[in-house]
Assembly symmetry: C2
Homo-oligomer: 418 residues x 2
């Protein structure tokens, strides 16, 4: 259909630029993802078996089973998993994304983001806060209680509020604002979360929840500075899935990790995952933890970098560079300048003031990655490598070059070059 | 008491660095400012008579009289003013500051900021939003109705909420956060306003206002991106007044404008205002207006620059540089670097990520201003020069050098040098 790879790539990135993502609802996963049935769990990254998962992803599985009451206790849950009685599906296979472990079960509520430009929808579970949380592998009583509250209170309150908006919240507007406020939407969402709260509160109030629910929801939104991360992930997924409708070209449409493998998908190479062993993030650790505790790289959240934010937009968020141990302002500038070398353009809808109003990176080209040897930088949370502990730090990690080499080879084969 | 001017200046700036401003209440002005009686109005800037006020400040006076019902209509209000039946006091004389016209009357609610380090309090009326608002000289029915709502609903709701906090909201924390989110607290308060809303909403909800009040207050806070400006002004005033308790040295402790004169106060020169004719801001204008409509510089809001933010911290807010017509990122950087030349240091409590985590400007020294000829840059709103119109743009303006020359001469005289 397109005369050249370059022309196809332009079509892919045009879909990204024209996207119109709206947050329209929050609903139990099973109501919008038909695959989400009893004894089914979604996970982050390319396909993986339970036995190959690292500690924190296994811990998340135990937590999800306890939440769903498919097993009465941890031991029984682990047995279920080890006996292969749980079916695993990658989030990416069902229009979803999940942070860190990405473990999603039927009754967990998911954010529903609709990309009006293309008509497609994407889903992501909600952010639980930091520290001892399911996505980082913790599954204690507090974790399960919080997840129950999120399903019973937070999701219905947000759903009712969103129904009072004029067709949902326009995420391009929130994202563009927050980008001028020092967020990069992966490790820093403090501005976007505050702007989201500012936008949704009038509707929450108008929908008249009970006093108890209003208090708990307001407090949770006020305390959860990373709340927007999961919204941003669903937003990026809805945009990149629309871009995937152009089935040619060499643009990366997904990057994800399951703790074992890093996988990428490419516009002209269909549903295939090109994988390589993941790296382990380097960064800064919460008190009492160190690099030795770090789990290898994990989560679908690298969909943000695929879209052009996260580590790619480090310069937008000099405040985060210290949090992830990536130096000062000039290091942030060098990182984004370097990332530009592997992209085919810049998205004019999202100017970064600290980059002299240059647009965010647009369209990672596998050819440029292989030519330059420059791999995407990902800003990420760091999970403890053992199940049950949770988040222990934040840092940066590089996508492994090998995925991109494999994808270029597949493309060459497809084009009859080799 | 101090061995040298430099030593005195260090003592003045130490008071700034150690300040602990908390927003503790919102109350009718007359309850905390005894001078605020019937037929008394506070105004911005150094002392000025009604006849010498420019259009917008006169318009604000009319609005305040209508709000207080001291006159039945505009004509009667104007007559009252022209016949000298209103007593005027500068805000600065009664521990207060006021934006633009700064017109404050007895029943207008004021924000109460307490500087815990020194025990003093400062006051400022609340932000009404942008466009047709009293502080820019508009006094139509909508303006008066909004002010009535602010007195009857917004102030009591915020007051009740603040009483549920643990002794008020810590403004250093909110300001430090917002500074990493692209605010400079004069023309850009979008992040601070969102963070303020995030902090106060749980307490508002907990205080159980009526459904109607809860809805209107939540909507107003969500819509008013400059809400924090007035809180920042009271914060800066509370800090700079504490610094004034060191009655030596050459540090500027207030800068303000009444539309006719620009005035500064200096730590070692008591209550005296050193004045010179104000400049007119240059900037960008709302559709339908131009530089010809601009009123000369006005308002106590330059207390933010005195503290080291506003135009002095342009580099913190590259997003605002375009709004005020001050160029791109490098222009913002040059501005803040230039401002550093007239200050004695940097405040380590407020690192600016976009300035490679350098602290905000600390302590404008009149000697440095006169030596270098560099005058402080002020980011400001621009009022229409006629009463009744309101805000027509935003821009930057320089403090006139003459004030600083006069102050240096007074200091030389005091020290017996001339």
């Amino acid at each position: 259909m397109y005369k050249s790879i370059d022309e196809a790539n332009e079509a892919v990135t045009a879909k990204i630029v024209k996207s119109q993502p709206f947050l329209v609802d929050v609903v139990p996963g099973k109501t919008v993802i038909p695959e989400l049935k009893e004894h089914v769990l979604l996970h982050a990254g390319p396909p993986i078996a339970f036995q190959d998962m690292t500690g924190p992803m296994q811990g998340s599985c135990i937590g999800a089973i306890l939440l769903e009451k498919w097993a009465p206790d941890e031991e029984a849950a682990r047995k279920m998993l080890e006996e292969g009685r749980i079916t695993f599906i990658p989030c990416h296979s069902v229009n979803a994304v999940g942070p860190m472990g990405g473990i999603t079960s039927m009754n967990m509520p998911v954010l529903v983001v609709e990309n009006r430009e293309h008509g497609n929808r994407a889903y992501c579970i909600m952010n639980e806060g930091i520290g001892e949380v399911l996505r980082f592998g913790a599954y204690g009583l507090e974790v399960i209680k919080r997840l129950e509250w999120m399903g019973n209170v937070l999701a219905p309150v947000l759903s009712k509020a969103l129904k009072l908006t004029d067709g949902g919240l326009n995420l391009n507007v929130i994202a563009a604002r927050a980008l001028t406020m020092g967020d990069e939407f992966h490790q820093r969402n403090i501005a976007a979360s505050a702007v989201f709260m500012k936008e949704i509160m009038p509707y929450i109030v108008k929908s008249k929840p009970s006093q108890e629910d209003l208090e708990s929801v307001t407090k949770f939104l006020a305390d959860t500075d990373q709340f927007f991360l999961n919204i941003a992930m669903a937003m990026c997924k809805s945009v990149m899935d629309a871009a995937r409708s152009i089935t040619e070209g060499t643009i990366v449409t997904a990057m994800t990790r399951n703790g074992k493998d890093f996988g990428i998908r490419v516009s002209g190479l269909g549903d295939e995952w090109f994988t390589a062993p993941v790296n382990t993030p380097q960064g800064l650790f919460f008190t009492g933890y160190s690099q030795d505790d770090a789990n290898p790289d994990m989560g679908d959240s690298a969909i943000t970098e695929t879209y052009g934010v996260g580590g790619m937009a480090m310069i937008a968020a000099p405040g985060v560079t210290r949090f992830v141990g990536a130096g000062g302002f000039n290091d942030a500038l060098s990182t984004s300048n370097e990332m530009l070398e592997i992209c085919i353009g810049q998205n004019p809808n999202f100017p970064i003031p600290t980059w002299d109003f240059e647009g965010i990176c647009l369209g990672i080209d596998i050819r440029k990655v292989v030519e330059t040897g420059i791999t995407p930088v990902i800003n990420t949370g760091i999970a403890h490598k053992q199940a049950g502990v949770g988040q222990v730090g934040a840092g940066t990690v590089r996508a492994p070059l090998e995925c991109f080499v494999k994808a270029v080879e597949a493309m060459a084969k497809k084009k009859g070059i080799i």
